[in-house]
């Protein structure tokens, strides 16, 4: 995934969320995007994962610029996973069914969808909570379900926007351990937006944003 001179403005350009950002994420790389609130972290992540379109520059995925919203939809369905800060699980669906959701249109067989979702929930340690509704799970468990959901179609890129923002310190550590382990095992690129430098320290590279611009890039130890 690559951003080339990307900018994102609102209100006819009067508000600039991101300005002239160039960034390349290599296959299998773990990149953290850090910065204070309003620095443009989430905007960058949304653009990188095709959830939003830039007002300047280009966003490339696997070397090509997707031509349309429909092209991005297809890429998101099969090659990009996303983890939200607020989990965004569907309250009427069980953990298993929430993980199945991204597979509609990708995996045709319902039984196969169920098997895959079961295996993913086993991987995130929720094999015993398959049929629980989100309201019956703790915050950490909900985020694990969301992580399993992001892996549903074996993506090449995972975007995680403040994935520990709504969790206590213990659950945060568990979720970060899980993300790091899954990234290491599956080899997908991971772009994580956070304001927490300790969280960012787990990444291979840290991009510092301020006022919508990249102000520094460091390699984590």
């Amino acid at each position: 995934m690559a951003l080339e001179g990307v900018g994102r403005g609102y209100d006819g350009g009067r508000i600039v969320a991101l300005c002239d950002v160039t960034l390349r994420v290599a296959p299998g790389e773990f990149v953290a995007v850090v910065g204070p609130s309003g620095s443009g972290k989430s905007t960058l992540l949304h653009l990188a994962c095709g959830l939003d379109r830039p007002t300047a520059g280009r966003v490339l995925f696997r070397g090509a610029e997707p031509a349309s919203a429909a092209a991005w939809t297809k890429i998101r369905a099969r090659q990009i996973g996303f983890v939200f800060q607020a989990f965004h699980l569907f309250p009427t669906l069980t953990a298993l069914e929430n993980v199945e959701l991204p597979m509609f249109g990708v995996v045709g067989d319902g039984a196969e969808r169920g098997r895959r979702a079961h295996a993913l929930l086993d991987r995130v340690g929720l094999g015993g909570r398959l049929h629980h509704l989100p309201s019956e799970l703790s915050g950490g468990e909900r985020q694990r379900v969301a992580i399993a959901r992001s892996l549903a179609n074996a993506p090449l890129l995972i975007g995680a926007d403040e994935p520990t923002g709504n969790l206590d310190s213990r659950a945060s550590a568990d979720v970060l351990d899980l993300l790091a382990e899954l990234h290491r095992r599956d080899g997908a690129s991971l772009v994580l937006a956070t304001h927490n430098l300790e969280v960012a320290a787990r990444a291979g590279r840290i991009i510092h944003l301020a006022d919508g611009r990249i102000v520094a890039a460091t390699c984590a130890s």
Binding site: S42, H46, C49, L51, D52, A70, T73, K74, I75, R76, A77, R78, I80, F82, F84, Q85, A86, H88, F90, P91, T92, L93, L96, E97, E100, L101, P102, F104, G105, V106, G110, R113, G114, R149, N153, D161
Partner: protein, 373 residues
């Protein structure tokens, strides 16, 4: 998990709202079933009543709207009976009267010796004797309602008739009918020498081309009369057409209310779930899949409502047909044709009611989901 279970779960999130919406659809569909079934029931009752009497064609004065007030010289029947292609003809005088119980019944007068008397299947008694002008035969349904039997008497239009027989018809109209000799009814109604309709038996009723040809010749020979084949009598009867038009008009209003109920509910539901649609888009759901989900929600609502509506409609129609005002006038009919129409109405309600909300859901950009955090 099947795809269809997702919209079902979404509707289950607000069960009271979903049930009330389905109930609104049920009332609309029930209204459609009652009104359409009612108008068709009346048409069917009239048609069956003629078919049962072995009448192939009827003649009324040109421009007649209300048959019961039509007036034709009864001598015309003899001329028609001699017409080429006509096997027999009979005058018939009819009027609707109200019994003390409030039930409307049809009283008809047939000429002594008319072929119409031969079509009656008597369950008890005998036909009126030529020398007994005050004899009458009564339909089985009316006889049961009035508790009269052969040997009893019946008060009609101020006269006292001797019931000589009870007949067993298929038509609900004939079932609630009193038949007397024509001169008797002409006297009671003070319409001497007059009939309201002429009933014709044709020589070749099974040959559509012959029937059309005879009708054309009759129309040319008797320009003051309108000749109608029995099977299309409902289409050419102005009163029945008016009832049909009113039934359709009121049904359309009821269905429009049902449609807006579905639309309103889904629009509220979609507005409440903007974030979810953004999330689904972020997860890679195509616009078509999101649209299908919302349209399915509409269809689940309307299917549930329509099923309840059919039950309500059938019950309502049966009840209506038994009310004193309508007993004997309507032959309730819930046929495959009506059920197919309900299915089509259900599809239209479900799809039309959900397309706009679905379009709103599809228009949500994934980034909207994050704004709602």
């Amino acid at each position: 998990m099947r795809f269809v279970s997702i919209p079902a779960r979404n509707l289950g999130r607000r069960p009271i709202r979903s049930i009330l919406t389905a109930f609104g659809v049920a009332l609309a569909v029930g209204g459609f079933v009652v009104l359409t079934g009612f108008s068709r029931g009346m048409e069917r009752a009239w048609t069956v009543s003629l078919i049962e009497r072995d009448v192939h064609m009827t003649a009324v004065p040109r421009g007649t709207v209300q048959i019961l007030t039509a007036s034709i010289d009864d001598s015309l029947a003899a001329r028609l009976a001699k017409f080429e292609g006509v096997r027999d003809a009979s005058g018939e005088l009819a009027d609707m009267i109200m019994l003390p119980s409030g039930q409307p019944i049809l009283v008809v007068g047939w000429p002594p010796g008319s072929f119409l008397w031969e079509t009656l299947r008597l369950s008890a008694g005998r036909l009126p004797a030529p020398a007994r002008p005050d004899d009458a035969v009564v339909g089985q349904g009316l006889a049961a309602a009035l508790r009269v039997a052969p040997g009893g008497t019946l008060g009609v239009l101020g006269g006292r008739l001797a019931v000589t027989a009870v007949f067993r018809p298929s038509s609900v109209i004939n079932n609630n009918m009193v038949i007397v000799p024509l001169p008797t009814l002409q006297r009671l109604l003070n319409r001497p020498g007059k009939v309201t309709v002429l009933d014709l038996r044709l020589a070749q009723p099974g040959d559509p081309a012959q029937v059309r040809a005879v009708r054309a010749r009759l129309a040319a020979a008797f320009p003051g009369l309108t000749f109608t084949e029995t099977r299309s009598v409902a289409d050419s009867n102005e009163i029945l057409r008016l009832i049909r038009g009113m039934a359709w008009g009121i049904s359309l209003i009821a269905l429009a209310i049902g449609l807006f109920t579905v639309l309103n509910t889904l629009l509220m539901s979609v507005t409440e779930r903007v974030r979810e649609f953004g999330v689904l888009s972020a997860l890679g759901w195509s616009p078509g899949r999101v649209l299908a989900m919302v349209v399915l929600e509409g269809l689940v609502l309307t299917l549930g409502g329509s099923a309840a509506g059919i039950v309500l409609g059938i019950g309502g129609l049966r009840w209506l047909a038994q009310t004193p005002m309508l007993r004997g006038l309507v032959q309730p009919e819930i046929g495959a044709h009506l059920l197919l129409e309900v299915a089509a109405v259900t599809l239209v309600l479900g799809i039309a009611g959900s397309l706009y909300p679905a379009a709103r859901a599809v228009a949500v950009r994934p980034v909207e989901a994050l704004k709602y955090e």
